[in-house]
């Protein structure tokens, strides 16, 4: 049993080395995070399935085809997206947003093109029956996966250490500035690394139907989290460290599946969060100056915030709340109105954190879900009325926020990814069949006993009022001025006497509270839902898009974002979720590339207003 777990762990882990290898190469050379890596892998898997179904092509023959094809596709993609991205002030952060959009775009396009049903290739194609090694029966595909991974890692090693371009690539990984100064054509080297990264994703994808059992268009994000876990374990930016990361990951997964099977799915997210917190730079990285990182000034241009006075902001908030109050009298689609209010609140809640501290919470939906389930559990188990259950929801979101407060020690992309993984972990706990007695697991909850559409609408409106109030407070108070100072330079802010950590933590908790209470209002209003609904990553995506579209750190920006984009979305009457995902994914890409500071920055960009 143990031997089986160990052998399987190493083989499985080697496959995940291949999954992470390309991602790590891209990060190492460009310091950007390709959140669409898993989606390229998914496309590789579909290619293999198609080649097998159409031409009966053996996956091992499909492998070089996929690798080459994706390599060739990656090249122009670099010049289309990444070259522009690298010119921006904070490429790492912006890359997260851009590739997040691209990931959604690819997923939606694939769902539209291939359908959402599962694809697979019969395992027998790669050899019948298991291979028996010292009494452990291991499936053939795992051997192929491990073998292909070993070959690829060897090829990458030879390329990096024996070829001229590889040598230049290592120089760029070592220090981009110095490479630039010594006349290396950074774009050519980066394009090569990006293309190889995409090629490796395609190659890994060919074996995905075997290693993951089957593929659907939505596997991308899960694969990404796993790939991140692997490369963070093996040290970010060190492609060969990925081998170590893959093996550690594979071993832990197999041991967990052997001895604690129902919780094994939690492993990637928990490991990712855990490792990032304990070894923020990976297991192989020297821990030397980790503390000094904390004080590095943010590179994102802090938004100046709106120019309006407190009076104008209060007037805007009052007008918005009046519209929310009158809405139900003028318009009959209550659910749509309710969704508007929820998204207005969520966008402002995310704006609190992102706009005023620069932390981008990719797992924001986790708080929304925690609030929804805090409310549901209080109603189901404590038999509380809705009002008290709302308080419990707030406490649940704050509790989760407190639990995740150590994440604030991470910066930029690390924080965003760790937060995403943490939210994923919460979802996996809540929806775990083993917890059916507590959360009803994947079967969803029904709160019809407290169903009250008007009251829950009013609750959502109150949450919105609170969120608007918080934003106005941060825009016009000394507390908010301190936050802007922290965003500009945390060390100077500390020397000005500002308690940097405490102040960030406070905004983080307030932002979590807004999402949690919004989630509670959602649970109350919907009253019957599955765990997927409140934990949907699309919720985070929408909130991010609305804030980015309108402009963060402003009051009107996120409001504008919700009204225009969510309004547009409903006006067009897009009923298929894939199409909205497609449009929003595309919009995120365009915003990240051309208007990273939102519409509110447009007049300034066009030179209509002085600096």
């Amino acid at each position: 049993m143990l031997f089986y777990a160990l052998a399987a762990g190493v083989l499985f882990g080697l496959y995940f080395t291949l999954v992470g290898l390309g991602l790590n190469l891209v990060f190492g050379v460009m310091r950007i995070v390709n959140l669409a890596h898993g989606d390229f892998l998914m496309l590789g898997a579909y290619l293999a399935c198609w080649l097998f179904a159409r031409f009966g092509l053996h996956p091992l023959a499909a492998a070089p085809i996929a690798a080459l094809l994706f390599l060739v596709l990656g090249w122009p993609l670099y010049y289309l997206l990444v070259a522009r991205l690298l010119k921006s002030r904070d490429a790492e952060m912006l890359s997260l947003i851009l590739f997040f959009g691209l990931s959604q775009l690819i997923e939606a396009l694939s769902a539209i093109t291939f359908g959402a049903s599962e694809r697979s290739i019969p395992g027998s194609v790669l050899g019948r029956g298991p291979v028996v090694v010292f009494g452990a029966a291991l499936p053939y595909p795992w051997l192929f996966g491990a073998g292909l991974s070993g070959l690829s890692a060897g090829a990458v090693y030879l390329f990096l250490y024996r070829s001229r371009t590889g040598m230049l690539m290592r120089a760029v990984m070592e220090s981009r500035e110095e490479a630039l100064a010594s006349g290396i054509d950074i774009h050519r080297v980066s394009a090569a690394a990006f293309a190889i990264g995409i090629g490796l994703a395609g190659l890994a994808g060919v074996l995905a139907p075997f290693m993951l059992g089957s593929v659907t268009p939505s596997i991308g994000m899960g694969v990404n989290l796993t790939a991140f876990t692997v490369i963070v374990l093996g040290t970010l930016g060190d492609p060969l460290g990925t081998i170590l990361g893959g093996i550690i990951y594979g071993l832990s997964l197999m041991l967990m599946q052997t001895y604690l099977s129902s919780w094994a799915d939690l492993l990637p997210s928990l490991m990712l969060v855990g490792v990032l917190l304990v070894f923020p730079r990976g297991l192989l990285a020297p821990s030397g100056q980790a503390g000094a990182d904390f004080w590095q000034p943010g590179t994102l241009q802090p938004a100046r915030g709106g120019r309006g006075t407190v009076g104008r902001r209060l007037a805007l908030a009052a007008a918005l709340l009046a519209a929310v109050g009158l809405g139900p009298l003028l318009y009959s689609n209550q659910l749509l109105l309710f969704n508007f209010v929820i998204f207005l609140a969520l966008a402002q809640g995310l704006n609190l954190l992102y706009g005023f501290t620069g932390y981008l919470p990719f797992g924001y939906a986790g708080f929304f879900g925690a609030g929804a389930y805090g409310f549901a559990l209080a109603v189901m188990h404590l038999r509380l009325g809705a009002e008290l259950a709302l308080i419990c929801a707030g406490v649940a979101a704050l509790g989760l926020g407190l639990l995740l407060t150590p994440l604030l020690r991470l910066s930029g992309a690390y924080f965003a990814i760790a937060n995403l993984a943490a939210a994923q972990a919460v979802y996996q706990v809540v929806s775990n069949p083993a917890l059916e007695g507590v959360t009803r697991g994947p079967y969803g909850v029904s709160l019809s006993g407290v169903f009250a559409p008007q009251e829950s609408y009013a609750a959502a409106a109150l949450v919105l009022a609170g969120a608007l109030g918080l934003v106005i407070w941060l825009q016009s108070s000394r507390f908010g001025l301190g936050l802007r100072a922290i965003r500009d330079d945390p060390l100077s802010a500390a020397l000005a006497g500002i308690a940097v950590v405490a102040r960030r933590t406070m905004v983080w908790l307030l932002s979590a509270l807004v999402a949690g209470l919004a989630g509670a209002a959602f649970a109350w209003h919907i009253s019957v839902f599955y765990p997927e609904a409140p934990f949907d990553i699309a919720i985070t995506m929408y909130a991010i898009v609305f804030v980015l579209f309108g402009g963060s750190a402003t009051l009107g920006g996120p409001v504008l974002g919700v009204l225009v984009l969510y309004g547009l979305y409903n006006a067009i009457g897009i009923t298929t979720p894939q199409y909205s995902q497609l449009i929003y994914g595309g919009l995120v890409v365009v915003l990240a590339l051309f208007l990273p500071d939102g519409l509110a920055s447009l007049p300034q960009r066009l030179g209509l207003r002085g600096a």
Partner: protein, 240 residues
């Protein structure tokens, strides 16, 4: 300078390691109110690390820092700032998106040991920044940003001010003004620790100097005496 000189800052056996490298190796010294101490030494000798440890950027790996006879070891920078320890940076780090005045307001609002100072207009004038008070800090010249860095520190009314390479890149006329300003702070009773390469500038300011090499003190005394010290000469000029 009839003021009685009691030790405001006592540094005893300070050690700071980065991996296997000892950036500070059992450094000890004292600094009194109204005293200006210079810290000199070749690049990498540990001068800036010393400032970083005293201001809480790094936690020391050994030794103690006593400020007003209370331990200041490993406290967060904002707590040290509130107790009266502040600094400037080699390359200034102002709040770029805030105006010059807001830069000082933020520091004044969160205060130093005796509560925030209220005379920000006077401070701006003293720093020759009164004409650019409403300008964004990002749009200042680098000499102005240095003054703003100093202003941000002074807005918290520090008792101990650590100045890291303030003179580099300033014109002779600016140097003269800055030296006079710092000297007047010392005369008001502020303790000054100055890391400086420009020895002429340091000579105008510091009552005595510590010469550092490889994280250790190799000399303590007046700058003139330092120039005659054989070990100091060896470190600076190489073995003759």
């Amino acid at each position: 300078m009839a003021r009685e000189k009691t030790a405001l800052l006592r540094v005893e056996g300070l050690v700071k390691r980065f991996g296997g490298f000892r950036a500070l190796d059992r450094l000890s010294f004292q600094l009194a109110r109204g005293e200006a101490l210079g810290l000199v030494g070749p690049n990498g000798s540990g001068k800036t690390t010393c400032i970083n440890v005293i201001t809480g950027v790094y936690r020391p790996d050994g030794g103690t820092v006593l400020f007003e006879d209370r331990s200041a070891n490993g406290l967060a920078p904002h707590l040290l700032a509130r107790r009266g320890i502040n600094r400037t940076f080699q390359s200034p780090r102002p709040f770029a998106s805030l105006t010059v005045r807001e830069n000082l307001e933020v520091a004044a609002a969160h205060g130093g040991p005796d509560g925030p100072r209220s005379d920000l207009q006077a401070l701006l004038a003293w720093l020759d920044l009164d004409a650019v008070g409403e300008r964004l800090a990002a749009h200042l010249t680098s000499a102005q940003q240095k003054m703003l860095d100093l202003g941000r520190a002074l807005a918290t009314a520090p008792k101990l001010l650590l100045v890291d390479e303030l003179a580099a890149g300033l014109t002779p006329a600016e140097l003269e003004r800055v030296a006079r300003r710092l000297r007047s702070l010392v005369e008001q009773g502020v303790a000054l620790l100055v890391v400086e390469h420009l020895l002429g500038f340091l000579d105008r300011l510091a009552d005595r100097v510590i010469v550092m090499n490889a994280g250790r003190e190799i000399f303590q005394g007046t700058l003139k005496a330092a120039a005659r010290d054989p070990l100091v000469r060896e470190v600076f000029l190489g073995r003759a």
